[in-house]
Symmetry: D2
Subunit: 234 residues, 4 copies
């Protein structure tokens, strides 16, 4: 049984966010070559609540997700956020989706043909829309270094990863962003590489793209015991 | 060989952070009962660089860490950050340490006696020190519910976790913070629980503690396929 | 340069298995309701080598996998193993595939509608074929207990998982195996459950199925800090 | 309520194993240099039950573990298994312990000084004792290749891991086993390496050690997307 003290406390201690996390869900995303690609996502959905909020129906998040049958594109992303904001009477709505995206890569010498790229979309709807697209791309040594390595084990061509997040002015394919990152990574090849240098090269390439209005870059050199990394943001 | 164009670019595209990540390292932390506790940490160390920076010696991060032989306390934390800032000529220095902390729990009915709590410390040194201590504590059902459950499987007593991060005005033991969280969790027991209600109860308890100047709380109900959660911040 | 001693040693110290592991790969599996389901698998492929073997072309494993464009069914599984055995001149060929499989579940009260089941297929071709199909199904409390629980958090309905592996005499759908496991789990509901009792109930149900020639069962009660489990095998 | 049919079934469908899994527990192991090393283990304990078994007290596993206060050595390992076998009236008792073990490595050029080695002990007591000790050691390129690499990223010196499990006739330090594996790995350096060649070199080195009565070796080349591996067993 609640007394008046508790009621007063409830007004002071306000829930800021409430939602669901780590839902495993089959989704369909846009694919430049094949129109659509089916993959498996991990989904988080949550809202910022107004101060005088009195209990959420958690099941509504999943009900909304189910309405869209896993079709994820710019339009559905916006509509899911709108429904969340409306049905949960929220100040802001958020959805984060992580998924592997697969591309045929016949060109990459150490590729298995079907290359996996880990992607993430984070959308927010408050007064206006905000969407961040993030892709992680493996970083390999330059052809120059490859030639020198001779009989080295295959995996030594790859020494790390570049994780790039962008906001954009007009639509950009996942494939385009991956290509752009790969172009930035190989800039300056022929010279020895460092996480700092690859990060700067990437920054220069991405800063020049007309569709990209904001970016964040983390380049990591994955060692056994630990990693070294460099990061920058526009 | 760099040309003038590249040099100009280097000034524009500035590395923001550089460092080492996910170092597995044996550490010794303060233990209220036994003075010291040895455990195994995952360590991240990184710095914010000034604009005209020209290459980091990544090995220095590890050299500095080794100087302190894994002794982690408020004093050593500060000195590690100071050395990082000085030796890497940085604008700010950061260290994050995650580790399991073990406590004897003879009281908890479903405990194995030696209970694990996941802890995290995140320190920053810019102009002044900033330290955040975070602890994750399992959330169990109230004794009232336990009694009703009768022959239910043991694990059903636990339905989630509370992750609490705090900044503090004067020293606080990990044990104290754990006790405080456990006290906040059981507030209002006897009534059915929800992540929102447990979050509010916790917020009220922690807000009242004189040593704590800032807090952030996430209560999660861990289901098989996904989780529901509520969060608040002071 | 090798001397005679080394050559003799090479004959004594024989590689037993060689292959590729943890390939992330998009696959298509059979779906009873929708004919086909696209999902994302983790693939291991390896062979047992004859004694006088002199070096493997690791790239062949991936080449063979690519030939089948991710179509995984009993027939393609057999043909992949045959190609591995032939092209790598092996004594035996193995392929393990793990993937999430999604089913619409409108009946389950605590389901999100689209339920994930972790599946695994392990095929071996030596003199004859051998295929093991494994499915992991969440274990929830009985309706009887649910009613008693009243306002308990949603996740408390689920307390663990049943992992069942089977060999079969004639084709069995993943859906059928999942239904069979769910039927076995709820046997004896109304009474308090234990991992031992659920394991025995499941064993009885699966032993009675005419298509199943062998089975292995592990029932786990997933707690925060650790799990309890019971296991049996036909 | 059980009827006679069910009782008969219970005799036919026998639990084979029952126990506890993934207990996180602070332990103390033997250290050649410093006598004792404190670390954090993940513990599994389970028993094979006799046919006419009628319910286990799962809490006994943890009670037995607690009796030994985390002191893990050959003697305590044996006594824990004996207690499990006796108190649970079992046909066989098993304990698996996984833990990171840290060594000072001032010699390794790409080491952080404090090197982590993942260890595992698996003990079984049936009629007599059986203990398997397993250590995973990173595999780096030879100094010859290092010299050629010049400005390559640091992590490229490491390309994989060797996991070696042994049974032994008389006591062997973890340090000794690690040294032996490192000696086997660098055999034949100067020539290009492959997982098959490193596996054979290791096999030769370990087969020659008088204390080792059985061994199993897996050498893995860790790539981004997937791994290649070779394995052999004595």
């Amino acid at each position: 049984m609640k007394d008046i003290q508790n009621l007063r406390d409830d007004r002071r201690i306000n829930i800021r966010k409430v939602g669901v996390k780590t839902i495993s869900y089959p989704i369909t995303v846009l694919d430049k070559e094949h129109r659509l690609q089916k993959t498996v996502a991990t989904v988080n959905m949550y809202v910022n609540l107004p101060h005088r909020f009195k209990g959420t129906h958690m099941s509504r998040f999943v009900e909304i997700l189910n309405t869209f049958h896993g079709e994820i594109n710019l339009k559905s992303f916006h509509r899911i956020l709108e429904e969340m904001k409306a049905r949960l009477d929220a100040e802001a709505a958020h959805m984060e989706i992580e998924f592997p995206y697969f591309l045929q890569r016949d060109d990459a010498p150490d590729s298995i043909g079907t290359e996996r790229y880990d992607c993430r979309m984070h959308g927010t709807l408050k007064d206006c829309d905000d969407l961040v697209l993030e892709v992680t791309v493996p970083v390999a040594s330059s052809p120059y270094v490859h030639a020198q390595q001779g009989g080295l084990p295959r995996s030594m061509g790859r020494w790390g990863s570049a994780r790039v997040a962008v906001r954009f002015n007009h639509f950009i394919w996942i494939e385009e962003l991956i290509s752009l990152i790969q172009k930035g990574i190989v800039l300056g090849h022929g010279a020895p590489e460092s996480v700092e240098q690859v990060t700067r090269n990437l920054g220069r390439t991405i800063a020049d793209h007309p569709a990209i209005s904001w970016y964040s870059i983390v380049v990591e050199n994955l060692a056994d015991g630990y990693s070294t990394f460099a990061a920058l943001e526009s």
